[in-house]
Amino acid sequence: MPSTPHVQTGDGAARPHLARHVRLRFDPARQRHVLLTPEAVSVLNGTGAAILGLCDGTRTVSEIAAELHGRYARVDDDEVRLFLDRLAARRCLEVDQGEARRG
């Protein structure tokens, strides 16, 4: 049953981080980054890996988008937000609102 993803990354001030059961790893066998969850493996493209690498619980969604603009010629902010929202809906990402986490 498909469910509509909640818009959880909000207004850009949210600070996403990987859920504690989710692992972002580089797979040398495939030469790609992968996102590991209990039942699924997602093979990421370069942009996906870059976005998730920035989801450290201290950067806001807006800061993540800004950093991507510095690295890539073409970055669609809406696509970044949609990517994060989809992962939040799958509970791969958790979102802190407000103050940045320490550590």
Partner: protein
């Protein structure tokens, strides 16, 4: 290294032992459990994990039987974790003491799935064949206390499917992050007990309504996974995502299989005691036999869904028709579909009659093998 023609596997199911303190009548372990008692040693498992990682495996599912019966489980988890594998323990939770759990946490275990048989002790213990419900709940709380995410696994059948709402309430009370409500798959002991386990259509419809409502209510708090019963579907399940395509299974005696029940098929054996995992994955006859679509008969061969469900399950085709190369009889297009339709109809009729007696799966004795012994005497 994998050739271009063969995809790399993502997941390894390690069935560490078929020993189990539970006696669930829906178990899909082999009927001849004693034939698998010559278990791989610790050193052999560590070698298998390293070979699996080199082959591209990213997820390790530790199961059985009851994996906690292996005294080297912590060592296996530590090694897997160091290799970069995502480690998932699938357990009855019997034996998950605070001490053991702490060791596994320290060794890097990523995720724990605990089975419960029902929402209350009397039925859960009766289905498990041993007093276990209270210990499972204690272990589930321990998992949460240690900061692990918790998944509850519940196998559904005629005797507990009407209680699915209460099972979901239990999961909520325990603070589970995920619950997998999976209908019984009819292999091994479950197939033997099918007449006593298969639910009626009316039961399924009620359960599905409860699950739909719970999903909406729990969205964002608990993930509810509902695995449909394939006997009641129009199309078969895409078994293992295709034969030898994404997953492999190593069973307690070191045989490597495309799925955990493929030992039932009349195919040549392949063992990590005789070959590398890479050779078995890429070249062994057992992995080649049903890979891709060339082996398919009609109606699969000309079906637009042939790369959606891959012809369904080879083990189910063999168990129900005696020919592993036929279309899975759960498909409504299969010429053998009448076999499944008759079982479903019998279940609808049996809903009115007293429950059939279920045969509990026994607990086999295991052979402890010294680390230094060489190649095992192999099953013919």
């Amino acid at each position: 290294m994998a050739s271009a023609a063969v995809d790399r596997p993502f997941g390894l199911l390690a069935e560490l032992t078929y020993g189990c303190p539970l006696h669930c009548p829906y178990c899909s372990n082999p009927l001849d459990l004693a034939a698998y008692a010559d278990e791989l040693t610790t050193a052999e498992w560590l070698r298998v994990l390293a070979e699996a990682r080199a082959l591209g495996v990213l997820q390790l599912h530790l199961s059985g039987g009851e994996p906690l019966l292996r005294r080297d489980l912590t060592e296996i988890v530590r090694s897997a974790s160091e290799l970069g594998l995502y480690t998932n323990l699938i357990t009855s939770a019997l034996g998950l003491t605070p001490r053991r759990a702490g060791q596994l946490r320290a060794a890097g275990l990523d995720h724990v799935q605990i089975s419960v048989q029902a929402d209350e002790p009397a039925l859960s213990d009766r289905l498990a064949g041993t007093p276990s419900f209270a210990r499972k709940l204690a272990a589930a709380r321990l998992v949460k206390e240690l900061g692990w995410p918790l998944t509850l696994n519940v196998v559904l059948h005629r005797h507990n499917v009407d209680r699915v709402g209460r099972v979901l309430a239990l999961a909520e009370e325990l603070g589970a992050d995920r619950i997998e409500l999976a209908h019984t798959q009819y292999y091994g002991w479950a197939l033997r007990n099918r007449a006593g386990l298969l639910p009626s259509r009316a039961q399924l419809e009620s359960a599905e309504a409860v699950v739909r409502a719970a999903r909406a209510r729990l969205e964002g708090r608990m993930e509810v996974i509902y695995v449909l019963p394939d006997y009641h579907g129009r199309y078969p399940k895409p078994c293992m995502g295709g034969w030898g395509r994404r997953q492999l299974t190593v069973i307690p005696n070191g045989e490597v299989l495309p799925c955990p029940t493929a030992h039932t098929l009349p195919l040549p054996r392949a063992s990590v005691r005789e070959h590398s995992l890479a050779w078995i994955w890429e070249c062994s006859p057992v992995f080649q036999r049903f890979r891709g679509t060339d082996w398919m008969p009609d109606p699969c061969r000309s079906c637009p869904r042939r790369e959606v469900d891959f012809g369904g399950c080879r083990c189910q085709a063999f168990a129900l028709t005696g020919d592993a190369a036929r279309t899975d009889p759960v498909c409504h297009l299969s010429p053998d579909h009448g076999i499944v339709a008759a079982a479903v109809q019998a279940a609808d009729e049996a809903a009115q009659s007293p429950a059939a007696v279920l045969t509990p799966r026994p607990n086999p004795s295991r052979r402890a093998r010294p680390q230094s012994s060489g190649r095992a005497a192999h099953r013919a």
